[in-house]
């Protein structure tokens, strides 16, 4: 699983950071970003889905990796 934040939608509610601090960071202005390249370790996938489902701005999404490029 891989996730991404649309920075133009993020308004700094920080729900994602509160739910899964292992996957997100928040700057001093409240804008969230994914740590690393957004790859979610299997044991954090359920909480990553909660972060997606709790964002009031619909700014977080699961990134669909094309079938051909299974290599990272």
């Amino acid at each position: 699983m891989k996730i991404a934040i649309d920075a133009s939608k993020c308004q700094g509610h920080a729900r994602c950071y509160a739910l899964v601090p292992e996957l997100f960071e928040v700057d001093d202005f409240g804008t969230s970003s994914v740590l690393g390249d957004g790859t979610v370790p299997p044991d954090l996938e359920e909480r990553a889905r909660l972060a997606i489902a709790n964002c009031p701005e619909f700014a977080i999404a699961e990134v669909t990796v094309p079938a051909e490029s299974t290599e990272r």
Binding site: A14, R15, G30, L50, A53, N54, C55, P56
Partner: protein, 400 residues
Amino acid sequence: MAKTAPVEDWASDFDVMDPEYIADPFNIWDSLRNTCPIAHTNRRGSNWLPTRYADVTAIAHDVGHFSSLEVAVIPFDDDEPEDPVLPYGLPPISADPPLHTWSRRMLLPWFSHRRVEGYEAMTRELCKGLIGTFVDDGEADAATQYAQQIPVRVIAHILGVPNDLSDTFTGWVRDVLEFADDPERRISGMEGLITYFVGEVAQRREQPGDDLLSELLRTEIDGEPIEESVVLGAAALVLIAGVDTTWSAIGSSLWHLATNTEDRVRLNSEPDLMATAIEELLRVYSPVTMARLVKQDVEFAGCPMKRGDRVLMNFPSANRDPEVFEDADKVVLDRAVNRHLAFGSGIHRCAGSNLARMELRVALEEWLSRIPEFRLADPAAVTWAGGQVRGPRTLPVVFP
């Protein structure tokens, strides 16, 4: 208090200051959502009241049509003079881009989650101290002796103003928000606040400190210091927006726990639920309604909105929309998916949301740790404020 006639038809003639709406707006919203999801009134000018989640979020994001230049739920009378000291009102809440954008960036770092962690210890000590003053009495007013006393002192600390003036600050803020229907009271509250900050600003120009007021005076935009009117407006905003709102959320949450034994027992026995419980209490008892000003004629969801009309952003009703929330009117302490709008939506997301969440959590944790069992002393003695900010103003509880 209400200076208008009782409401007969909520769809075409609503009044958010009507005693019925203040006491129990929930049934009114439920009915409107099903029959007339955007209500209208000509009381206090032409105002619209969206009640559905989808409409409230759409309007919040459409800053092209809906301006924040007038955010007060009770509009100022046309014959009230423009405030010469605050030509921009209280930026960023009362501003559109570009003033909104830079004045908001100026404030946000003071309320970042890192800064807010730094305010937690003092908030906890404050709560412990307040509880200590009444815990042995077996009874207390959870609104006036507790909820009301917390946010104002944390904000005073951040602004760098003495917290022994807390009651004075609280009085001004209530005049501005809760008693806005009384123009004299609103004007005198605002004058009190601004006169105070004018003095504080003058003092900090002489002796700067490391507080928010001093920092605002040091801030430069494009190499120029910012206008004093923006400093004063932003300082007044921090106080006004940071006091009534959070105090109302703390009070409503304690009211819920006083009246719902099952939830109180569960939160005591499962403290890990606090994180979802806080979000759920914020959803169900969202305190804040903000206004928007229609910038140009627009038809929105079939409603002919005219330039100069106002839209009351009913975030509290959006948060009880059954289209979005299962069992929307029920408090579900472990609700896992909760995309609520208690802090708004879009570019005006409450800048103090991290602080408010911390204060609410610490206030409930400390209360429950000392007073795990409590109930209303007399349900009829509870009073509520509403309109712009909804929450209990007297909340007598007993804990034998």
